[in-house]
């Protein structure tokens, strides 16, 4: 079993004015000029490469970090690279107020935990906070205290996560 409680350092993805950054599209996350890349190991350095204020993110991210993003994150294209670039950097999970529909599938299928958390930007958490998320009940804790209740992961999400990714999950179905 993969762990259902994850601990990590949080990155609150805000706009240049420090507010919730909505509608970050896949060209801001992983620009179309890098679409030819097929090796995940080469993708990390381009993560957030076209997102104002976050261009230097690949140098700052650490293995096990957790992203907290605004509304309609990952709008736009179907590129898996916009998910894999974060996996390449060791990002452990993505928490967001809402996600682009295709992006959400791409995260789930890659076996990366995705938590839907409407209004989490109102919770007062900030970048650098150490948090613990419970994938089964959606609780987000800081210093042992529940600071936010997000939606628990759905069954299919949990099944794919536990299997490893969509391919492994598919093999179990037969």
């Amino acid at each position: 079993m993969r762990p259902t409680k994850l601990k990590g350092r949080m990155w609150l993805i805000t706009d240049p004015e420090g507010n919730r950054f909505d509608d970050i599209d896949t060209d801001m996350i992983f620009h179309n000029k890098w679409l030819y890349i097929t090796d995940i190991n080469e993708m990390g350095e381009y993560a957030f490469g076209n997102t104002p204020g976050w261009e230097d993110f690949p140098g700052k991210a650490k293995e096990g970090d957790i992203l907290v993003v605004g509304r309609n994150f990952g709008a736009g294209s179907s590129r898996q690279q916009a998910v894999d670039c974060f996996r390449a950097l060791g990002i452990q999970a993505i928490i967001g107020e809402s996600f682009g529909a295709i992006y959400k599938r791409n995260v789930i299928n890659s076996g990366m935990p995705l938590i839907e958390a409407p209004d989490i930007f109102e919770s007062g958490m900030k970048s650098g906070d150490l948090v613990e998320i419970d994938l089964e009940n959606g609780e987000v804790k800081k210093d042992g205290e529940v600071v936010f209740r997000a939606r628990p992961m759905s069954k299919v999400q949990m099944d794919i996560y536990q299997a490893g990714d969509l391919f492994e999950y598919g093999k179990m179905l037969k």
Binding site: H31, N32, N72, A101
Partner: protein, 417 residues
């Protein structure tokens, strides 16, 4: 009773189809482009030992991004796909064909009620004929190639009614802008929609393609336009089979209803940074421009070429402005030549690209915009930096052509006598 998405899922699944339920659906068609395609091949090779395709006859590569390959990396990626297609017997529409989703429509590979997935976020364009199309990442598509199936959470559906009459130069693109202004960038997030109303019934197939192509920009999974007679005869001609079409039940359940009035619609423009940032052209009239692009999966059909030609006939593109035109497919391109539109474009001073494809959205196949440059474009996204560091304003083909003539943003009324 059922909305269109529920009907299509029920016909393609053994599971109980109700909003919120996870269902496994059978896929009639699955494709990958020169973007995503090589990653799909890589996943298949890494995760499975041979027997990569559930059905090669239902599986295609459609090259439309870097066509022909303009960098060595793309050349190699396309080569990977070509070799894989040859080994497995799957279909391939190569660099000459044009935009994949449009090719599927033209070749009769999809029909109303079909299920199809591919590595293109505008795959829901297939909603233009009442087919379920869904853009997906390369992992999803590799899984679809291998199994012929995918999982889906049945979305709730919105009922969107668009009514009213309008005259040239307002077009299907302006109607689409009006819908986007009302719904916003996430108003359809995670949902399906069925379109209703006389303004929708009156849309041509090309106009339907324009409207359906912007579903993703409103956050939608799929929006269906119930087929009219023109669409059914087109599909019958292309598939060689009689078609019943697909329509929602009279008492279908919708999560939300939206009414949009397009009576007397005026030309509209979407200013940066979002495709839903819609304003009347008259509000920004006179804004100087550097370049103009006409094409893409949103406005690269013959009707769009004709609208541009109608404005450009007997006119010249303003000195210092460059106008680039990219038909969406080889079929459209051939008609542009056959019907003489090419002469009008050339006489007006436009750059007409020789290869159909995704155009400006595909990292500048037909050119990018420089810093501080202002471009009018009929593409579907004006997100910052997508087509270069300049500013992109989205407009209809008629507005794009008229503005190219004047050198500033204006409506086609100001150019045509």
């Amino acid at each position: 009773m059922s909305t269109i998405v529920e009907k299509i899922f029920a016909e393609h699944s053994k599971d109980r189809v109700e909003p919120g339920e996870i269902v496994w659906i059978d896929l009639d068609v699955r494709t990958a482009r020169d973007f995503g395609g090589p990653n799909v091949v890589k996943h298949l090779m890494e995760h499975y030992e041979g027997d990569y395709l559930e059905d090669p006859e239902k599986t295609y590569f459609t090259f439309d991004l870097s066509v022909p390959a303009k960098t060595i990396k793309y050349a190699i990626n396309q080569q990977v796909c070509r070799r894989f297609a040859k080994e497995t017997g799957m279909g391939i529409f190569d660099v000459d064909a044009g935009i994949g989703t449009h090719v599927l429509l033209e070749k009769g590979i999809v029909r109303p009620g079909s299920t199809a997935v591919g590595t293109d976020s505008h795959y829901n364009i297939l909603g233009a004929i009442g087919a379920f199309g869904q853009g997906m990442g390369d992992k999803d598509i590799a899984f679809a190639f291998k199994t012929g199936k995918t999982w889906f959470e049945v979305p709730e559906s919105m009922k969107i009614t668009v009514e009213g009459k309008y005259d040239w130069p307002a077009s299907a693109r302006d109607l689409t802008f009006a819908v986007m202004k009302e719904i916003g960038s996430s108003g359809m997030l995670g949902k399906a929609a069925d379109y209703y109303g006389d303004a929708i019934d009156n849309l041509s197939l090309d106009g339907r393609i324009t409207l359906a192509s912007q579903t993703t920009e409103m956050g939608g999974i799929i929006a269906f336009i119930p087929p009219n007679k023109e669409v059914l005869s087109f599909v019958e001609e292309r598939t060689g089979q009689p078609q019943k079409g697909i329509y929602p039940d009279k008492d279908a359940t919708y999560s939300e209803e939206v009414h949009i009035d397009v009576e007397g619609l005026e030309p509209l423009v979407a200013a940066p940074p979002k495709p839903t940032n819609v304003k009347p052209v008259s509000e920004l009239e006179g804004m100087e421009i550097d370049s103009v692009f006409i094409g893409s999966c949103t406005n690269g059909r013959y009707e769009d070429m004709l609208a541009a030609a109608r404005v450009l006939k007997g006119n010249k593109v303003k000195e210092g402005v460059n106008l680039r035109i990219t038909p969406s497919t080889k079929e459209v391109w051939a008609r542009v030549i056959k019907e003489g539109l090419i002469d009008i474009f050339l006489k007006a001073g436009a750059v007409v690209l020789t290869n159909p494809g995704c155009g400006g959205c595909a990292e500048g196949m037909p050119g990018l915009v420089g810093k501080d440059e202002v471009e009018l474009s009929t593409t579907n996204r004006n997100y910052p930096g997508k087509q270069g560091p300049g500013k992109i304003y989205l407009v209809s083909p008629a507005t794009a052509a008229a503005s190219a003539v004047k050198g500033y943003l204006t409506s086609a009324k100001e150019v045509m006598q």
